[in-house]
């Protein structure tokens, strides 16, 4: 009888009805997936003492760059943000680092942050209005274009130590 009880305990331990008791091998056999270890939480540098300041700093860096500086600025923005904003900036950094057209044309962007306003009924979400001008030193493609208004949506998160960082940056145009 004792042997039966021990065997039952052993089966329970292997099959793992409770989440904590299931071995990775058993879980893999059940789901055909082997769970990868949880990635470490990304370290976030920078941040600002309030939400609007965080957005203003981010937006200013996002819209003011040259072909030579854009990749490093996007990397820096990625390090200062989390979530979708970080992913988007990492992608931008990767794409611009090897963008031959950007370099060849000497393309640069400059602008000012004209307004940051909270979205009604959307906690920690803001609409950001910028006025930007794109130029090129070695291309006539942008010649004659006037500064244009642009709108982006931003979400912010307050970290445990009180710093605010961006978690989402969605340019609308």
């Amino acid at each position: 009888m004792r042997g039966v009880a021990l065997a039952a305990l052993g089966v329970l331990a292997l099959s793992g009805c409770g989440g904590g008791g299931q071995s990775k091998v058993a879980q893999a056999n059940t789901t055909h997936e082997y769970p990868s270890p949880r990635p470490p939480a990304p370290a976030v540098s920078g941040g600002e003492p309030d939400a609007v300041a965080a957005i203003r700093a981010f937006a200013n860096a996002y819209i003011n760059w040259t072909a030579d500086s854009v990749a490093s600025q996007m990397r820096s923005l990625a390090a200062h943000s989390i979530g979708q904003a970080r992913s988007a900036m990492q992608l931008a950094a990767g794409q611009t680092a090897g963008d031959y057209e950007l370099q060849r044309g000497g393309i640069a962007n400059s602008g000012t942050v004209e307004a940051i306003a909270p979205l009604a009924e959307h906690r920690d979400e803001y609409v950001v209005v910028t006025r930007e001008l794109t130029t090129a030193t070695d291309s006539t493609a942008y010649q004659g274009l006037r500064p244009a208004w642009h709108v982006a949506l931003a979400s912010v998160v307050k970290l445990g130590d009180g710093r605010w960082v961006l978690s989402r940056w969605q340019p609308e145009n």
């Binding site: 760059w65 962007n109 794109t134 006539t140 274009l145 642009h150 340019p171 145009n173």
Partner: protein
């Protein structure tokens, strides 16, 4: 008699010969006229035919010649100085008007560009950026080109066009400028951004253009297609050419009625009056030459199309009774296939994802 007969026979032969020659000359003449007309009115796929009254602006970098005229200035006082939205055009010398009608909605000779749309206009060696601040009536072709744009006289003057009291007309090249702003240059602008780029006007008769021609397909930044307000889809700029071709082919038949068995038996290169689920999917696939032109399989036959599973750009979902697919994130499907509330009707691009359980997922190799 024989002589007369011979003479009469010769006369008859001569008459027959003349008649034959006349018919031949008439036929040749008719052919030449048809050829001439087709030369003048042809090229319908790019919307730039002489008989066309509108054009389809391509993406940045693909300028095209159009008919232009000028207006305003001291020799044309009837035009005044105010744009259609109240701008004083003398204070905005880089202005142009899109032609074709009396309102913003009807003056759409370049596809109905939004107010303040920038266009690079080139005349000879001179080039300048203009902004749409006005609209106006169209007119007959200019140098065989559809007349689509009126240049404010100061703008025309900046291009070196001689002032002729508002009477100048001639060909100019128009082109969209590249995307601007950080998000535009970085390719991160969202759906709203491409609303600044209206859907290109399609040819008057879609059947005149075989699938595969991607001229005139609106583009949208990024990797995902976008449903436009007119039911057409804008192709993602980052997509392979095959995806743009598929979207162009789909746009050809958007809104065609659903008829079970429709288009089956016709070559896929033709535009049929009606489609069913499988024939509409096959038309789109043929746009990228992913099926032979004579293919006409049923939905169940598409269960073995291409490779199994979902694709990066295209995924077909097929079973014995239905087939639909996603192209760059937009669903190509038949009437209200997602049920009431789908927000769409007819064959075409649908905004919502639908349940694919019970379907076999397939995709074209490499896509």
């Amino acid at each position: 008699m024989p002589a007369t007969g011979r003479k009469s026979h010769s006369a008859a032969a001569l008459l027959i010969g003349c008649a034959f020659a006349g018919v031949l000359i008439t036929a040749i003449g008719a052919v030449l006229i048809v050829l001439l007309l087709s030369t003048l009115t042809g090229g319908g796929c790019d919307g730039s035919s002489a008989s066309a009254t509108s054009i389809a602006l391509g993406p940045p970098g693909s300028g095209q010649l159009v008919g232009a005229s000028e207006y305003g200035g001291p020799g044309d006082p009837s035009s005044g100085v105010m744009g259609a939205r109240g701008d004083n055009l003398q204070q905005h010398p880089d202005s142009y008007a899109e032609l074709g009608g009396l309102t913003w909605d009807t003056a759409t000779a370049m596809g109905g560009l939004p107010y303040m749309t920038p266009l690079r206009v080139t005349w000879g060696p001179h080039s300048a950026m203009g902004y749409k601040r006005d609209f106006g009536l169209g007119g007959g072709p200019i140098n065989g080109l559809p007349r689509v744009i009126d240049l404010w006289w100061q703008f025309a003057g900046g291009l070196g066009i001689p002032y002729e009291d508002g009477m100048w007309s001639g060909p100019v090249r128009v082109e969209r400028p590249p995307a601007t702003g950080a998000a535009g240059v970085l390719g991160q602008a969202g759906a709203q951004s491409s609303m600044l780029v209206p859907a290109a006007a399609g040819p008057a008769d879609p059947s005149a253009c075989a699938p595969g021609a991607i001229g005139g397909v609106a583009l949208t930044p990024g990797d995902r297609a976008r449903l436009l307000s007119n039911g057409l889809a804008a192709a993602p700029e980052n997509a392979p050419i095959a995806i743009k071709e598929m979207i162009a082919a789909g746009n050809q038949i958007v809104g065609k009625p659903y008829v079970y068995g429709g288009a089956h038996g016709l070559p896929l290169s033709e535009v049929a009056p009606a489609y069913d689920c499988s024939s509409s999917v096959e038309h789109v696939l043929y746009g990228a030459r992913l099926l032979p032109v004579t293919y006409g399989g049923s939905s169940s036959e598409l269960e073995s199309f291409g490779d199994p599973g979902t694709g990066q750009w295209v995924t077909l979902y097929a079973n014995a009774s239905h087939v639909f697919m996603y192209v760059a994130g937009l669903r190509w499907d038949t009437h209200n296939a997602a049920g009431p509330g789908d927000g769409s009707s007819g064959i075409g691009w649908h905004p919502l994802v639908r349940d694919a359980s019970g379907f076999v997922a397939r995709h074209p190799a490499g896509l």
